[in-house]
């Protein structure tokens, strides 16, 4: 199934990048908006945050897809 996977922002760096945790691995991504904070769930494409997703929605989605 082709779906975008949300990850959790666990570190924000001074250079405008952040670390996104996918549980299995952590990846770096660039932030281009000022509304991203620690703990946010985001969708990343090619090292750029393209969407912020409400935590409840992201968690529900991850639970569902992991058990699909």
């Amino acid at each position: 199934m082709c779906l975008a996977i949300p990850g959790k922002v666990i570190e924000i760096k001074e250079d405008g990048s952040c670390i996104v945790d996918y549980e299995t691995e952590k990846r770096e991504a660039k932030i281009f908006t000022d509304d991203i904070k620690l703990g946010d769930y985001v969708i990343v494409s090619q090292k750029i945050i393209i969407n912020k997703v409400p935590e409840e929605k992201a968690r529900a989605f991850l639970n569902e897809i992991k058990n699909a």
Partner: protein, 158 residues
């Protein structure tokens, strides 16, 4: 190398190029391990050598729908047709997933505008500019018309 002729655009190559971004998602979810992921990545550029059992295992849905021993064009038709339709119209498997998690998966065509570094390019898709990777394909040139799927170049459309 990107394929500029449909002769070289084979069934296995097409499934691999469209399917690998989805394999990355499964890797992020922990549904496949790093060893399996690395094994699949070892077929980048030599997709024809990939055993069909591995294709069936990791690209299960498209293989089930498209069938065995088809062509690259059949794979294109599936991703640009039914796959995109289900996402855009919220049907089939995509009927109940929030759009935020699906929209990235729509396959689109665009024009390569700028090389950012050895792996990333800017591609214009309609009135938007998107960053894409050539990780699973090959070099692209500025001005090339390319098919992209989930932020990755699938193939050259010349």
């Amino acid at each position: 190398m990107l394929e500029s002729k449909m002769d070289n655009w084979t069934y296995k190559k097409a499934l691999f190029r469209y399917g690998m971004p989805c394999v990355e998602s499964r890797f992020k979810l922990g549904l496949i391990n790093k060893e399996e992921y690395d094994k699949l990545c070892s077929f980048i550029g030599k997709e024809e050598e990939m055993p069909f059992e591995l294709i069936k295992e990791h690209f299960k849905k498209p293989v089930e729908i498209i069938g065995d021993n088809k062509t690259g064009k059949d794979v294109d038709d599936y991703f640009m047709g039914l796959h995109n339709h289900e996402i855009i119209c919220r049907e089939g498997n995509y009927a109940h997933y929030p759009k935020e998690f699906c929209e990235l998966c729509i396959s689109k065509d665009g024009i390569v505008l700028e090389k950012l570094d050895d792996f990333y390019y800017k591609v214009g898709v309609g009135d938007k500019i998107t960053k894409v990777s050539k990780k699973f394909s090959g070099d692209v040139k500025i001005g090339d018309k390319v098919r992209i799927h989930r932020g990755y170049v699938v193939r050259d459309l010349r």
